[in-house]
Symmetry: C2
Subunit: 203 residues, 2 copies
Amino acid sequence: MQAARDALVEAALELFLEHGFDATSVEQIADRVGVSARTFHRYFPAKDDVLFVDAAERHEHAAALLAADDGSRPVLDVLCEAAADLAARLGGDARRQARRQRVIEDNARLRARSLRATEELADLFAAHVARRLGRGPADRVPRLVGTWAVGTIRVAHRRWLADPDVDMVAEVRAGFELLADVEAATAEDSPMAAPAAGSGRAE
Amino acid sequence: MQAARDALVEAALELFLEHGFDATSVEQIADRVGVSARTFHRYFPAKDDVLFVDAAERHEHAAALLAADDGSRPVLDVLCEAAADLAARLGGDARRQARRQRVIEDNARLRARSLRATEELADLFAAHVARRLGRGPADRVPRLVGTWAVGTIRVAHRRWLADPDVDMVAEVRAGFELLADVEAATAEDSPMAAPAAGSGRAE
DNA sequence: ACGCTTTTGACAGGCTCTGACACGACCTGC
DNA sequence: GCAGGTCGTGTCAGAGCCTGTCAAAAGCGT
């Protein structure tokens, strides 16, 4: 049942905010919804998972965006769009997201796991850059660009968490503007690996 | 006893490589060294900690490097040096490090925690950039640069893990070369936030 | 109503981590 | 020499997370 699942997420969120993540047991969450702890674990393999249900689908959406890239625009622009989309979704359901993030933010283990999710995103981005550049997904440039791109998202996210008035999408775009100068290195026909800093960027 | 502690680390590493992280219990580790499980937990609050003992001191060293910055060189150069130093240490004790990393790499939870450590490093870098630029440590530019810098380290690290022949230090320097174009934005006297990059395109 | 599948609950067990208490070794000052 | 402190360690107990297994119950098509 999707309803029970949602109820569990909601109950968990409330309890986590009320007593803290570690201080609330799976049993308490299950009790509040009226199911057994075993049932909780059938929906969510681990207690943590109740907080990370939507990350997966956000990533799928980003992957779809990247897959739809027809190659008509610079790679960085495509990444920027995907990043902005992710940011919009992250900030979207603001009420729930904010609560969720507050729980995650003050628990080292959860923060770690959240970072893990962004690393997967970085791999996704890297794979796309690699595709566009005709290189391996583990090559230096794709990996770096992918990492920098999601780093930009994460910074926007953290700034938004600290101050809800921040416009995450604008933050992401601003970040990519700052990053945009490496563009020359990611152009399809550039010498690319060329570490010669002097490389004319304005081609 | 430092000896017992080291012995525990060593035994844990062996067992983890042999049976996997989850499949080895604290008791097994303790048994191999000849102490009780309770003693293990006295040295290491959690089983995971046995793998992350040295990260802290690496970070302290990086912090010291940054603190020694006299401001005579561009910030990015300073970050690059600190990053290269970290890379050298990461690749240093190669035998042990490599085993350690192999264990971490094929376990999602440990990967996550490892990322958490690099996030702390990002904050360290961001704080230094902020100091140099006279801005707040949570401001956009410092955070972004810090994040990108440690992202660069992480990419170098991952590439080294995948292929031990990769020179991590060179990898880091190459990464910073690619990133170096944002340098203008981090110069002390630049308009900095100015998103008006010369790049004609965007949005 | 009859089976089939899915969902749920109950019980059992293994593991991690923490807390409380005891024992011995090793100082230290009287 | 000896009382008292501390430090490392062991033992025991307990809470909590997670998993496996089995059985009951609830949908659902026929």
